[in-house]
């Protein structure tokens, strides 16, 4: 019974993966509107803002982690692990902006 379930799920997954890969890019009603050139500027400025603020946030996280490690060198390994996780989570906010910028540059619905 479990084997049947596993095979069913794997088959569904394979068909789903190949089917979803045939994405057709279609020009909607928004194509060619006046917003087109501004989206490129928006992508650049948005990414710059996100990168700068992400740098500030990560700087504060590392500063706090270093201070903790200096106070208690014995806890350095645990603090370092928590610092790495925190840095990756803060960075993911800038990554979301990067995804929006990539969409605006390469798959722009307004052009």
């Amino acid at each position: 019974m479990r084997i049947v379930l596993v095979i069913l799920v794997v088959a569904l997954g394979l068909t789903g993966e190949v089917a979803s890969a045939q994405q057709a890019a279609s020009a909607g009603a928004l194509a060619g509107s006046w917003l087109g050139p501004f989206t490129v500027v928006a992508a650049g400025i948005g990414m710059a803002l996100a990168a700068g603020l992400c740098g500030l946030g990560q700087g504060r996280a590392i500063a706090a982690a270093l201070e903790g490690m200096a106070r208690q060198p014995g806890a350095a390994a645990r603090i370092q692990t928590a610092m790495i996780i925190g840095l990756a989570l803060i960075e993911s906010l800038a990554i979301y902006t990067l995804v929006i910028a990539i969409i605006l540059l390469f798959a722009n619905p307004f052009k």
Binding site: G13, E17, V18, S20, A21, A82, I84, I85, G86, A88, L89, S92, I95, Y96, L98, V99, I102, F106
Partner: protein, 264 residues
């Protein structure tokens, strides 16, 4: 994005991320099959590396979920090894990572989403598990339920976009640096800018190549491991959060400070 397609292998009309995920599957299954049938008491070589990886993941599970979370090792370790191997495949010239396509990363996130809810429902029962979304007091329910709903829906979205954005961003960066180096160096070294151009072009090319190989490539290696680690860590945190809903949020096992991160 035609310039970013891997030019080497013909994938027979199938999407790249599907074919390269088969490559990753073949590598991982081959590594598993290459292990000796009867493990040696003192491991060497491949068995040693695999044991080190599994012990690392087990220590993480013990830290985050607790010792009774060890039965989730197959899920977490499969996700971790598969994501790490997929990320690494993108660093090999001629291949591209299956994880730099949003379909692949979304499939991982959906699996984790259904997994941690299923684990919570199986442990506590359907109605008690759903009741915990209402918060500590019934009077707060109209406020807590939309907040919890949105935060739980944001989890697979953030898992997807984090992994996808990191891999695709690194891929684009390497492609841009590569094509820019090739273009600029051929233009400068062809003498179109005069002798000064040749000198500056030569030095610049060497500097860019050293920068790429010495800094960007190790950075991408680090990001490959880190993103797989973060994905596993967050999956474990979500599972731990689903397991301990009845006992409140102060149930030890080192998940204190991790709870704050789980509500990201």
């Amino acid at each position: 994005m035609g310039a970013l397609e891997p030019p080497v292998f013909n994938t027979f009309g199938l999407p790249h991320h599907v074919v390269f995920s088969w490559v990753v599957m073949a590598v991982l299954i081959g590594a598993a099959l290459a292990l000796p049938r009867r493990p040696a008491l003192i491991p060497t070589g491949l068995q040693n590396a695999m044991e080190a990886a599994v012990e690392f993941i087990l220590s993480l599970i013990d830290d985050v979920i607790g010792p009774d979370g060890r039965r989730f090792l197959p899920l977490i370790a499969t996700l971790g090894l598969y994501i790490f191997a997929s990320n690494l495949l993108g660093l090999v010239p001629g291949f591209s990572a299956p994880t730099d396509n949003v379909n692949t990363t979304a499939s991982f996130a959906i699996v984790v989403f259904f997994a941690y809810h299923w684990i919570g429902i199986r442990k506590h029962g359907l109605w008690p598990y759903l009741k915990h979304f209402a918060g500590p007091m019934p009077a707060l329910a109209p406020l807590m339920i939309p907040i919890e709903l949105i935060s739980h829906l944001a989890r697979p979205l953030s898992l997807t976009l984090r992994l996808f954005g990191n891999m695709l961003g690194g891929h684009i960066l390497l492609s841009i640096v590569f094509f820019m180096t090739v273009g600029l160096s051929t233009w400068a070294l062809s003498g179109a800018a005069g002798l000064l151009g040749v000198i500056i072009g030569g030095v610049g090319t060497v500097a860019t190549v050293v920068f790429t190989v010495g800094f960007l490539f190790p950075l991408k290696l680090l990001v490959a491991f880190l993103q797989a680690f973060i994905f596993c860590m967050l999956s474990m945190l979500y599972i731990a959060g689903a397991l301990e809903v009845e006992h409140g949020h102060d149930h030890g096992h080192g998940a204190h400070g991790a709870e704050a991160a789980a509500h990201h």
